[in-house]
Symmetry: C2
Subunit: 208 residues, 2 copies
DNA sequence: GTTGAATTAGACCGATCGGTCTAGAGCGAA
DNA sequence: TTCGCTCTAGACCGATCGGTCTAATTCAAC
């Protein structure tokens, strides 16, 4: 439902970061926030990493907080693009589609040196101290679970999971367990906790 | 196996924080680290909260990092005390003992306003930046899972879970999923994710 | 009471923090 | 060319950071 590019120029009010500097800042910010977290990351470090003067930063962003929130938005665009690609794939059974999404996510984690999930990292660091971040991040998880619940409902109708299952609750449990496994994967710097968790979940969901 | 108080005075080399000031600092530090995390917490804030001068802090602790590591040690004493109390309870079936431990932990979370688990919080915040914390926290999780695996092995022998189960892997999955649920509980400020995850896990573990 | 170590007390340090401000460069439209 | 707006550039700000240092105090052992 998001508005795509309608026509080439289209100077819309708030499009994708069409501006090169802003885009660079957001990309560097994503990698740095993922690794260092929020409070350990200084604005100056982002500036140095991108050879950007401070004036540009505060031209594009109201504050460090605003910057991090926009990094989260960028991150979520990627997540939802992955969900679009996987969950809509009618050729596969719904449970397979969900699993495939997580397996692709796992590959993504690997490519970043097992730094886990930005939502989990910032959620743990900031939710005790900032209601803005707490609510924003909870909303992100909630949206993801919502989309998975649609798929699980389809699985339920097909009889792939028990008829008495509650798809939304199962989706929340899945997302939460994934986040826990992502933390452990980050601590161990390997993917084993992720695959072990997925194996357990999908075996259990189908079996009982 | 830990040494208990042998005789009242006993000036041993590194006992429990017998010293009142150090104890106060660690207690305040636990609550503050749980809420604010590491990087957002200034040493001065701990000093103010406990009316302690800076000289005392750096008398008892080498550095802020040393302080946080000792706070983790204190936290783990509590966790292992809980495990001692629950897992050894021969009157209950092994699976019940584990579940009871988590239910007590959940009560503990509630009493602290659903700030989740210190290991999860610091693990996410620091594991990308500090190998010291990363390894320490991984070790903590590993020890907890190890103890639960003993109980799960007992459950396996009794036939409460399938004979082909791998207790250690099941224990790791359980701990990881719990941490994920604890994060979500922190984001939502309520216990629902914790109970949903436990329900799913124990139903699945026994059933299949 | 004297001594010496443990602890308290807090001024002080350089570095870094997030953020502001002014100046000018770049550039498209008129 | 000139205007006007966007964006770059970086000096500068007060506050706070973790940590050091010296002096005063406390307290137990003798």
């Amino acid at each position: 439902m998001r508005n795509e590019a309608v026509s080439p120029p289209a100077p819309s009010s708030n499009p994708q970061p069409t501006h090169a500097t802003k885009k660079r800042l957001l990309e560097a910010g994503l990698a740095m926030l993922l690794q260092q977290g929020y409070n350990d990351l200084g604005v100056q470090a982002v500036l140095d990493a991108t050879s950007t003067p401070k004036g540009s930063f505060y031209h594009h962003f109201e504050s460090k907080e605003d910057f991090a929130l926009q990094v989260i938005d960028e991150y979520m665009k990627g997540v939802h693009a992955g969900l679009d690609a996987c969950l809509g794939d009618e050729a596969r059974p719904p449970l397979d589609r969900i699993r495939r999404f997580f397996e692709m996510t796992q590959q993504h984690y690997r490519s970043e040196g097992y730094m886990g999930c930005l939502l989990g990292g910032l959620g743990q660091e900031l939710s005790g101290v900032s209601d803005v971040f707490r609510r924003r991040i909870e909303k992100c998880f909630s949206r993801i679970a919502e989309r998975m619940a649609v798929c699980l409902e389809e699985a339920r109708r097909r009889g792939d999971i028990p008829a008495e299952s509650d798809p939304r609750q199962m989706a929340d449990v899945l997302v939460d367990c994934w986040e826990g496994a992502a933390l452990r994967s980050r601590l161990r710097r390997n993917p084993a906790p992720l695959t072990a968790m997925l194996d357990f979940y999908f075996r259990s969901a189908a079996a009982r």
